[in-house]
Every structure is written in structure tokens, then in C-alpha cells.
Symmetry: C2
Subunit: 218 residues, 2 copies
């Protein structure tokens, strides 16, 4: 029967997953060039040659890591389609992004490193799927503006703001921790951070606000 075959496949998948996880952790800190296969192997608790058995080259391993992060990233944007109104959608999106920063900080850091380096590996993705993804969300936000649900803000910069702030809690977690007395944010503090972000942004783009209509809009 196929059970033993299945076992092998499962073992292989488990091994690859362990390696990918260790690689993500190391790449998160040192970036592509600064990371070493020896360190990834050590983190994974495997001999270096074994890593090369599953992932022939450092670049292929890195690419796999980045691709997995990227695809999980895009899924978070589904709330834009599945929410009844702007406030619900953006609120859910911010929450989702904050959860990702809390639960998968390494992925966010790998992405940050990749972009810092000029996206040598995922440039093609940026130019295709990310561009499309972003444009479709911009269209949705513009629709909300047209419907008067939110103030006439630039959708692009609104998205950047959400990305920047939510990812900051992952990418700059070390700084945040240091300014939190050297301790990681507790569950309650994560909740407060999320509430703060949601409150300021949602309030900042609320349609009924009068302040921004007085501002220049030439």
C-alpha cells in the first residue's frame, strides 16, 4: 500500500518545513548575504550537508522562504472583498496584519531585508502580482471614497501607512521591546497597540471629520 510512501513524503515535508523555518529565522536577522548555511543548519539542528540535500543552493532556499511569506501576505488582503463596509474591512485588515506581526515576525523581517536589498529575488513578483493586488485594493478604497464612506485620502498612502505601522511591530520588535523595558509586548499590550493603530487610522480617514476639508485640496 501507499502508507510507507506516505510516511516518506511526510518525513520529507517535515524536514523541509523544519529547514524553512530555521532559514526564515536566520534570514530574518542577517539578510541573504549575511546569513550562512552553517548557521541555518545549526538552527535547524541538522548537519550542513543535509540542508543541501533538500535545498541545493542557498539562493533556492532563500527563494522558497520569500515566496512562502509573500503568498501568505497576499491572502490577508481578502478582507477587502469580504467585508460589508470600509470600516469593517480596514479594521479587519489592520487586525490581521498585526496578528501576522505578532505570530510571524521572522517572515516580516525577511521581507524587510529583501526590500532593503532592492528585492533581488522577488522583483518580478512586485512588478506583477503585488502591483495588481495593490491596484485592486486602491480601486476598492476609491469606491469607498466615492460612496462617502471615508474621507478622500490617497488610497496608496493609506495602504503604505497600514503596511508600515503594522509591520513596524515585527520588523522593529527589538526596538519596541527595548522601549518596553526590555520585555516583549504582553498580550494585553498587543491588543492596545492594535486598538491604537485602528483608532488613529480609522478616525484619521473618517468621512464626517471636518478638519481635512478645510485643508488644501488643490
Amino acid at each position: 500500500m501507499g502508507s510507507e510512501k506516505e510516511t516518506r513524503r511526510e518525513a520529507r515535508i517535515a524536514a523541509e518545513r523544519a529547514i524553512l523555518q530555521a532559514a526564515e529565522e536566520v534570514f530574518a536577522i542577517y539578510g541573504f548575504k549575511g546569513s550562512t548555511m552553517a548557521r541555518i543548519a545549526q538552527t535547524a539542528g541538522l548537519p550542513k550537508a543535509n540542508i543541501h540535500y533538500y535545498f541545493p543552493t542557498k539562493l533556492e532556499l532563500y527563494r522558497r522562504v520569500v515566496e512562502e511569506i509573500y503568498s501568505s501576505w497576499l491572502e490577508a488582503g481578502d478582507v477587502f472583498d469580504n467585508s460589508p463596509d470600509a470600516a469593517t474591512a480596514l479594521s479587519a485588515y489592520i487586525e490581521s496584519k498585526m496578528d501576522t506581526s505578532r505570530l510571524h515576525p521572522f517572515g516580516s523581517k525577511v521581507w524587510a531585508n529583501e526590500i532593503l536589498q532592492g528585492a533581488p529575488v522577488i522583483q518580478d513578483y512586485l512588478e506583477t502580482s503585488l502591483r495588481d493586488w495593490t491596484q485592486s485594493r486602491i480601486d476598492i478604497i476609491n469606491r469607498w471614497i466615492a460612496e462617502g464612506q471615508i474621507a478622500p485620502v490617497d488610497p496608496r498612502h493609506l495602504l503604505y501607512m497600514i503596511w508600515a505601522v503594522t509591520q513596524h511591530y515585527a520588523d522593529f520588535s527589538h526596538q519596541v521591546e527595548t522601549l518596553n523595558g526590555g520585555k516583549p509586548l504582553r498580550s494585553q499590550q498587543w491588543h492596545e497597540a492594535t486598538q491604537s493603530v485602528k483608532r488613529i487610522i480609522l478616525n484619521g480617514i473618517s468621512a464626517q471629520s471636518s478638519a481635512q476639508r478645510a485643508e488644501e485640496q488643490a
Copy 2:
């Protein structure tokens, strides 16, 4: 007289500056470990041994780069003290940070890399001067809240938001550029970005807003 001595000193300073600039550019992209002295030398247009003449080790060079960025960073916060009211202060601070991102993106990226790596070099600064700096700004923001100038937001998260968003335009400039059709933001676009950030944040914390009082505040 000392004129020739002065010339020498000037030449030395100029050489150090050129090296520091090249180093900043390289460290910005590859981080500490990922950067090579050879590449820094090439960027500076000098032989590698010459770099070592001015900066004995890679770590010392890196430390100098980071320290210079850090100190220039803190100065931007002076507007908190020199502004008459909250809106003016925060507006000026955001503008100042956006200008820094536009004019000195490498510095911001070096900082990002340093924090991503767990601040191996400037950890002591984080725990002393940055902590003090942040606390003093928190005190000021709390005063604004007490005076009713702004809504009762968590000052810490407000600061993080400003840092995150403004630095995003430097650290993720490659992504922003790609989503801008592959071209750097034009002067006008930088202005729009700055206005967007200021508008959303200032509006988001405006005291007269009614939305956030309806929110939970338990």
C-alpha cells in the same frame, strides 16, 4: 604657520567623510555582516587597504556610521519643544522625518538593518538616550492630552506610528518605487505623501473627533 597642518586635517576629514558615505550606502543595503570592505572601498573609489588606514576594522567603521545616523536622528525631535501647540509640533516632526527619508534614505536603512539584527552595536544607546528621549516626548504628548489639545491616544504608539510611516518611505523605497511604475517619487509626490501622512495622523488624534469616544475605553 598651521595652514598646511590645516590642509592635512581637512584632507583627512574629507577622506573620512567619503568613506563614511560609501560605507553608509553599502551597509544600508547589505547590513553589517552582508557588507564587504572590498565593496565599500569600491564604492568610495579607494583601495581597500586605504579604508583600513582610516578605519582599522569593519566594526569601527560601522559603529561610526550608526552613531552619526543616531545622533542626527535625535535632533529631529527638537520640534517637540520648540512648537507652540501639538498640531504644529507633530506636523513639523512628521515633515522633518519625511524630509530625512527623502534626503538620507541610506541612513534610515542602516538603522533598520541594525534593529533587524537586534541592535548589536547600539543596544546601549537604545537603553539609555533613546529611552530617555522617548519618555520625554511621551510626557509632552501626555501634557497635550491633559490640555485637551489631542485625543487620549497612547503616546508610545503614536510615536511608533510616526516613525514607522515616515521611515517606510526610506526603508521600503524600492517597493514604493516599484508600485510607482518603477520610478522614484517626484517632488510633488513626496509632498502628497507628506500631506497624506500628516492629514491622517493629525485627524486621527484630533480632540474634537467624536468617533473615538464612542469606542471602548474600559
